[in-house]
Symmetry: C2
DNA sequence: AAATAGTACTTTGCAATGCAAGGTATTAGA
DNA sequence: TCTAATACCTTGCATTGCAAAGTACTATTT
């Protein structure tokens, strides 16, 4: 399945509360989107380097420490843009379908 | 901005009636999607080579002849698949937004 | 009829996205 | 101390979309 707008979906998830990669994959799975690690890590790194995300290391009771990501100020603004883009695409498809 | 699902939008347009590239660009413009020739021609060629589309040359009153594209049987089946994919993505985004 | 302008189709090269596959490092538990 | 599990990271590839430049045909103007 073609994902497109994966970035948007991931930011929607992170926007709710800080999460690490496994959390993200599980939430996507609940929404019936299958995404793998090899897709997420580079994407998260890119967003972090662009100042959209920040992270904090956090201990785990059952394994190595985890990177918990959250949105920066800039990230919330960027999410709002993606929201617009999504609505525009949705409107376009609606328009073309009738 | 990344469009994703551009292929879907284009097949929606061609499904209504045979069109050539300029028609497609205009209809997309009406739906507020800006797409250029350099994107469309390779996409249409690919779809034609995959048996999704066929075309017929048609004279023009005001210039060189045009390639009018239409969906094949296989193309209509493929469009139905894309329809599913789109609905799945829409459902996923809905799910993640609440 | 020759030159010009306009329309239509095509190709090439690049950047971004997503995936598969394989690799490294830390921790818990036997 | 060794093994299994968890977590993070990297490399190489296929696909998608765009910019830019190029080719070919038609109509119009001179």
């Amino acid at each position: 399945m073609r994902k497109g707008y994966l970035e948007y979906c991931i930011l929607l998830i992170i926007n709710r509360k800080p999460v690490y990669v496994s959390d993200i994959i599980n939430e996507l799975k609940e929404a019936r989107m299958i995404v793998v690690e090899g897709t997420l890590y580079p994407l998260l790194s890119r967003l972090k380097n662009n100042g959209i995300l920040s992270y904090q290391w956090q201990e785990s009771a059952s394994g190595p420490p985890r990177k918990y990501y959250e949105l920066t100020e800039k990230g919330r603004a960027f999410l709002a843009e993606l929201e617009n883009g999504w609505e525009e695409l949705r409107a376009a498809v609606e328009h073309l379908k009738r």
